[in-house]
């Protein structure tokens, strides 16, 4: 936490801070999908739709209606959450059927963004999005927008971390592990699954809003179903079920191409390879890998430190 606060002063490079902002924004969307997929077990490949709805809502509210940024941010989340209510009937679906339905929704939203020029600017994109401002202070430099994006990311992280070990968290976990047994315990499965959908959409909307004000130009191609796939990849390579994993996954998926420009168009190929490797190493993803590495290093360190005693004990 302290490291995140101190970072802009240690590494004040504008580009680095911008990339970290983008990672924080992607993390927010990925953490939302983590609640949906990792906690409640619902596979969505349509999160880009809610991300896009949030981005364009915030852009429209601030640029066209002059709504202050904090309200537009919340408005973006709410707009995405309301849009997700359209998906409530499909939360009865499971597995591949649900995934395909969310994909369909994502495609519809993309086509809407692309074709409704009067509202979104269509293929020309949405230009003239103002900088974010908080309490009359305009976030002009990379450092202040870094604090905004990382700050919102941190709030989302701490809010979601509270779900684990709560009645709500237990119930959605139960639904993922065995929906029949959850029903038999009196859990309203469809209702709670819908709530997870709305929560994930809300934070995807927040992420969209932050993105709009970070890059200040939106184009429909930022919100194709590839974006949905990217968000899913973040969750999967980070480790399904782990909030920290969602952030690690976002760092890899967003950070890697920024620093390895050379891979450019081949990035999906690289992600594909990472994805297969993740599956081979087990479901835990990077989060589990980091934990295992930590344990191994700890064990190694302990062995090195305790070696004399250990060998003495082993001798007789």
């Amino acid at each position: 936490m302290a490291a995140l606060i101190a970072l802009p002063w240690i590494e004040p490079d504008k580009f680095a801070l911008h990339v970290l902002s983008l990672i924080a924004i992607a993390s927010i969307a990925a953490m939302g999908l983590q609640v949906l997929l990792g906690y409640s077990g619902q596979l969505s490949i349509g999160q880009a739709a809610f991300y896009g709805i949030g981005a364009y809502t915030s852009a429209f509210l601030t640029a066209k209606l002059g709504v202050p940024f904090p309200l537009a941010l919340i408005g973006a989340g709410i707009a995405a959450a309301i849009a997700s209510l359209l998906m409530v009937p499909i939360t009865r679906l499971t597995g591949a059927y649900l995934a395909v339905a969310t994909l369909g929704f994502s495609i519809i939203v993309y086509l809407f963004i692309k074709n409704e020029e009067w509202l979104t600017g269509g293929s020309y994109g949405f230009i003239g999005i103002p900088r974010a401002e908080l309490f009359g202070y305009v976030l002009r430099d990379a450092r202040s927008s870094y604090y905004l994006n990382v700050g919102v990311g941190a709030i989302v992280y701490f809010v979601f971390a509270r779900i684990e070990g709560s009645r709500f968290g237990r119930a959605i976990n139960a639904i993922r592990q065995d929906a029949d047994a959850a029903r038999a315990s009196g859990i309203r499965v469809t209702l709670l699954k819908s709530e997870c959908f709305v929560i994930a959409a809300f934070v995807a909307g927040l992420a969209g809003s932050l993105y709009a004000h970070e890059v200040r130009y939106l184009a429909p191609n930022d919100f194709t179903f590839w974006k949905s796939i990217e968000i899913l990849i973040m969750v999967v390579i980070g480790g399904v079920g782990s909030l920290a994993g969602a952030i690690l996954g976002a760092a890899v998926v967003v950070g890697l191409p920024e620093y390895l420009r050379a891979i450019g168009d081949y990035r999906m190929l690289v992600f594909g390879a990472i994805l297969i490797a993740t599956m081979l190493f087990g479901e835990g993803g990077l989060a589990a890998l980091a934990a295992t590495l930590g344990r191994r290093l700890h064990a190694l360190a302990m062995r090195l430190i305790l070696k004399p005693t250990a060998s003495r004990k082993a001798a007789p």
Binding site: A174, A181, A184, S185
Partner: protein, 267 residues
């Protein structure tokens, strides 16, 4: 039957039929379960016992017929609604939440009795903290009751088979349901473990929960049941006290028959 005149009826199944395509799994079955009793449900494989249990629990809807629980017509109610109204069950093929601890599995059983939602959890409201304490205390007490207190923090999928059976029962009774449906709770258990389950069922009844028991272990059924209904080919074959059922020539022929001699001797 004489036994049915004691105590008031908690569950009434009337002329319930369930078809699966051309198969009549349950055919116009009547069942009256008295409050405070253990009602055994026996019959050969494929007799429709588990289907009837699923109809009572709401997993399947009846093709025709009527279900009354206490004073309510529950024929059209969902599984979750029936569970919230006080009908809980266990599963023949164990359905535990494997990645959770034993304690968390039991805590799930209290979901409907508690109210804290997403925002309570996020804000850690007093209501949330109070509820969590109550959930933990009650769940621990029930683990103690079934004999699993020492394994509260063990992951459910790491438990021995017999312990998993007990954990299912703990999850089903934690909310003090009016009616407990047990689907072969002693399946796969050895004699000692089965005796422990019989004893547990009696204690659950004594605590005020009415029990419907589907079970193949005849010694368990005969020992703890106050009444028994026998199903065969989806129809009700007989109904009475354990003593009456063991003497019933129709039952002996259809079910206890050839392999039944040793069972009867044991019981």
């Amino acid at each position: 039957m004489s036994a049915a005149t004691h105590g008031e009826g908690l569950l009434e199944v009337r002329a319930v039929t369930r078809r699966f395509g051309g198969l009549l799994a349950v055919d116009a079955v009547d069942l009256a379960v008295r409050r405070g009793s253990v009602h055994g449900l026996i019959g050969p494989n494929g007799a429709g016992k588990t289907t009837l249990l699923n109809l009572i629990a709401g997993v399947y809807r009846v093709s025709s017929g009527f279900l009354r629980f206490a004073t309510d017509d529950i024929t059209r109610h969902s599984t979750a609604k029936r569970a919230r109204a006080g009908i809980r069950r266990t599963f023949q093929n164990l359905k535990l939440f494997g990645e959770m601890t034993a304690l968390e599995n039991v805590a799930i059983g209290l979901h409907a009795q508690t109210h804290a939602g997403f925002f309570d959890a996020v804000l850690s409201t007093p209501r949330h903290r109070r509820e969590e304490r109550g959930i933990t205390d009650r769940s621990m007490a029930v683990l103690q009751f079934v004999g699993l207190a020492g394994l509260a923090q063990a992951r459910a999928d790491s438990l021995a088979y017999g312990h998993r059976r007990l954990l299912e029962i703990a999850r089903a009774i934690v909310a003090r349901p009016a009616l407990l449906l047990l689907d072969e709770p002693a399946a796969g258990l050895n004699v000692t473990e089965a005796a422990h389950v019989s004893d547990l069922i009696a204690r659950i009844r004594d605590d005020g929960t009415t029990v419907v028991l589907v079970e193949h272990h005849m010694d368990v059924v005969m020992r703890v049941s106050d009444e028994i209904t026998v199903l065969n080919y989806g129809r009700r074959l007989a109904h009475g006290t354990p003593a009456q059922i063991q003497e019933d020539p129709v039952v002996i022929e259809a079910y206890l028959g050839r392999a039944g001699e040793t069972d009867r001797a044991q019981a």
